[in-house]
């Protein structure tokens, strides 16, 4: 399909007329990368969230818009991808109460609670080169 007479190739030529400066976008992405590395080094949890994770979303948006040209693509493509993301949110929402939390209405996950406690207690002294061990929960 290498001739321009197909409707597909014609659509191609039409939006190839954007003159996005891709190098400029790349430079912005690199700047954001620097911020996302430096930010967490400052140690504030909220700042870390915003710089590390918030910026990840911004970077992704830039790649999606300028490199993948999703914003000039047919609208349903964007809806399709958003739907898939929404499905992932449904998955996490439905599973987190069982897997992320370690207790709920009339149940507790003793193995996990013990592992967390033990790990947090030990976590203070282990830095550097020894391979850290997996915290083991005592079987009840």
């Amino acid at each position: 399909m290498s001739d321009s007479s197909t409707p597909a190739a014609a659509a191609h030529d039409a939006h190839g007329a954007h003159h996005t400066n891709y190098v400029k976008i790349w430079a912005i992405l690199l700047g954001l990368l620097v911020v996302s590395v430096v930010g967490p080094m400052l140690g504030h949890p909220v700042l870390t969230m915003i710089t590390a994770f918030g910026i990840a979303f911004v970077k992704a948006f830039l790649v999606i818009k300028y490199f993948m040209h999703l914003t000039v693509e047919k609208k349903y493509i964007g809806f399709l991808l958003l739907t898939m993301l929404a499905i992932m949110l449904v998955f996490v929402a439905g599973v987190a109460p069982d897997v992320m939390k370690h207790e709920g209405q009339r149940w507790t996950n003793n193995a996990a609670i013990d592992a967390v406690e033990k790990g947090l207690k030990e976590g203070g002294g282990h830095h550097g080169e020894h391979p850290a061990e997996a915290p083991r929960a005592e079987p009840h």
Binding site: F91, G94, D98
Partner: protein, 578 residues
């Protein structure tokens, strides 16, 4: 089986821009190339169909063996031998996995989708024929791996098709150190094959429709197969992730699902069922699509509410993402989640019921022709309804506390799955047989096969509902160990179900003989023996390579213009210019 290797050029009025698409040397291909290396969608469809039929024999043999063990515990099963407890687990696992992944999906989606979609949208093939071939080859690889798992040390995996850890993760529990990872690998490869196939199907439908065919002129079965493919694509991801994690747990000792190592076995259940529930709709929708095609043709009426059926199917698919944990009501999930999932589960019965009502309304007032395919389509409606309503009991989490893991669940899902996988498949194969082979199947033997299947089917599963309600647990290989479950009459019901199964299996021989005999020696059929409207019936029977030797069709109307008042004929093909 007939696609010739000489390519015919399908250049019709509709395709101005495809100037050199078929410019290549013509040559007769040898037998191997023509039937095993083909990229023709019809041949690939047959490959999936026959592989699926073969796997049905395996799944059927497995159920025969383990049901005989239940009915006559400890006795040697003719054709198998003694069924030990380990054998039993492997047999039930094999039966379940094979029937869902290697029979229902390949026959209903891959075989029918491949065969029908290009024909029904007026195209000459799928958009990616080589990817199509690769998809089948991956699928075949998964079949080979699964069958290998039967012969390795320790034997086939016996952890049930749901494969819950820690049973599935630890070889010291499942006793199948090779069988378990082989099974999991086969499933994962099968998923990859269907993902690739799904992309092919969806792209073909979106881009390659005949000129004049708007999305709402597309036959329902094509819509359904596409919606099913999208549903599969959207739901299988977490399970692919889970399969990789479980494979690592099995083979290298990671602890994704091991609480002692910071993992969680309930996570596997969620990963599995998040896919597992939409999966049942993945197989249901094509079956419903098949029924729609058949009932419109054989009641000479348009579908009562075409757009509603499509919207409902999409709605069912969407809702199916919100019900999965009803499989886990007593697994220890948070009860507040159980409340939510109960409500959504009860809600999902509504759109499916609504589709059934549309079908019944389509039949009402129609000029009914009770051919064999029509019998199968009607049986689907009746039997599936029974399955559906029994699901309501199970969807209520309180009732499920009692019913979970009993034969009540099993009978429920067989009253849904059997109609989907077998009634749907028989409906499709008998309906499209004349197109595929240019010959008719024998009607009389078709009806013998029909009654010989439907009647025993009910005698298998109604006893199982009763047994389940009386407390029969699933996955028990010898009920004589449980005095509470050996109350008077219970073992008799088990024997009744098993003997009915044997009768049902025996009648499948009628189908196989009819199918293969008629393929070579059946009465000849023309292009449109059922006088239907959809485009596949406007191509020769069987269609040659390229499908439409007189040129790819243009479309002027919808697919169900039957009994139109202005017409003499009671049907109006989609591509008829007048």
């Amino acid at each position: 089986m007939s696609s010739t290797a000489t390519e015919t050029h399908g250049h019709g009025p509709g395709d101005g821009h495809a100037h050199d698409a078929h410019g290549h040397g013509h040559h007769e291909q040898n037998f191997f190339l023509k039937y095993f290396w083909s990229t023709d969608h019809k041949i690939i469809g047959f490959q999936y169909l026959f592989t699926g039929m073969f796997m049905a024999l395996i799944g059927g043999f497995a159920v025969y063996a383990f049901r005989m063990q239940i009915a006559f515990p400890g006795m040697s099963v003719p054709g198998y031998g003694r069924v030990t407890a380990t054998d039993y687990n492997a047999l039930v696992t094999t039966h379940g996995s094979v029937m869902i992944f290697w029979v229902a999906m390949p026959v209903l989606i891959a075989a029918l989708g491949n065969y029908l979609i290009p024909l029904m949208i007026g195209a000459d093939d799928m958009v990616f024929p080589r990817l199509n071939r690769l998809s089948y080859q991956l699928f075949l690889l998964s079949v080979i791996i699964l069958i290998c798992s039967f012969f390795v040390d320790g034997g086939a995996f016996g952890g049930a098709w749901t494969s819950y850890p820690p049973l599935s993760a630890k070889p010291e529990y499942n006793l199948t150190p090779l069988g378990a990872p082989l099974w999991l690998t086969a499933v994962a490869i099968e998923f990859a094959a269907f993902l690739l196939g799904g992309i092919n199907f969806v792209t073909t439908l979106m881009n390659s429709r005949a000129p004049g065919m708007k999305m709402f002129d597309v036959p329902i079965v094509v819509w359904m197969i596409i919606i099913a493919s999208i549903l599969f694509m959207a739901s299988v991801g977490p399970l692919v992730a889970g399969a990789v994690m479980l494979l690592f747990d099995q083979t290298v000792g990671t602890g994704f699902f091991d609480p002692k190592k910071g993992g969680d076995p309930v996570l596997w259940q969620h990963l599995f069922w998040f896919f597992g529930h939409p999966e049942v709709y993945v197989v249901l929708l094509p079956a419903m699509g098949i029924v729609a095609e058949i009932i419109t043709t054989f009641s000479r009426k348009k579908l009562f509410a075409y757009k509603t059926v499509i919207y409902t199917a999409v709605g069912t698919g969407a809702l199916s993402f919100f019900v999965w944990a009803h499989h886990q009501f007593i697994a220890g999930i948070d009860p507040r989640m159980a409340n939510i999932f109960s409500v959504t589960t009860l809600l999902i019965s509504i759109p499916v019921a609504e589709m059934m009502f549309v079908y019944i309304a389509t039949l009402f007032g129609g000029s009914i022709r009770l051919t064999t395919p029509m019998l199968w389509a009607l049986a689907f409606i009746g039997e599936f309804l029974l399955g559906g309503v029994t699901g309501i009991f199970l969807g209520a989490s309180g009732a499920d506390i009692y019913f979970h893991d009993t034969y009540f669940v099993l009978a429920h899902f067989h009253y849904t799955f059997f109609p989907i996988a077998f009634i749907g498949a028989f409906a499709a194969t008998t309906y499209w047989f004349p197109k595929m082979f240019g010959r008719f199947m024998n009607e009389t033997w078709g009806k013998v096969h029909f009654w010989g299947t439907i009647i025993p089917f009910n005698f298998i599963f109604i006893p199982l509902f009763l047994l389940g309600a009386r407390g029969d647990h699933r996955r028990i290989y010898d009920y004589t160990h449980f005095p509470d479950l050996m109350k008077p009459g219970m073992q008799d019901l088990r024997i009744l179900a098993t003997l009915s199964l044997v009768v049902l299996l025996a009648f499948q021989i009628v189908f196989l003989v009819n199918y293969f005999y008629s393929a070579f020696r059946g009465a000849k059929a023309g292009a449109n023996p059922w006088q239907a409207n959809t485009l596949e019936w406007q191509a020769p029977s069987p269609p040659p390579h390229g499908n439409f030797p007189d040129g790819l069709p243009n479309v002027y109307r919808g697919p169900y213009e039957f009994s139109h008042p202005d017409r003499q004929e009671d049907y109006w093909p989609q591509n008829s210019a007048s």
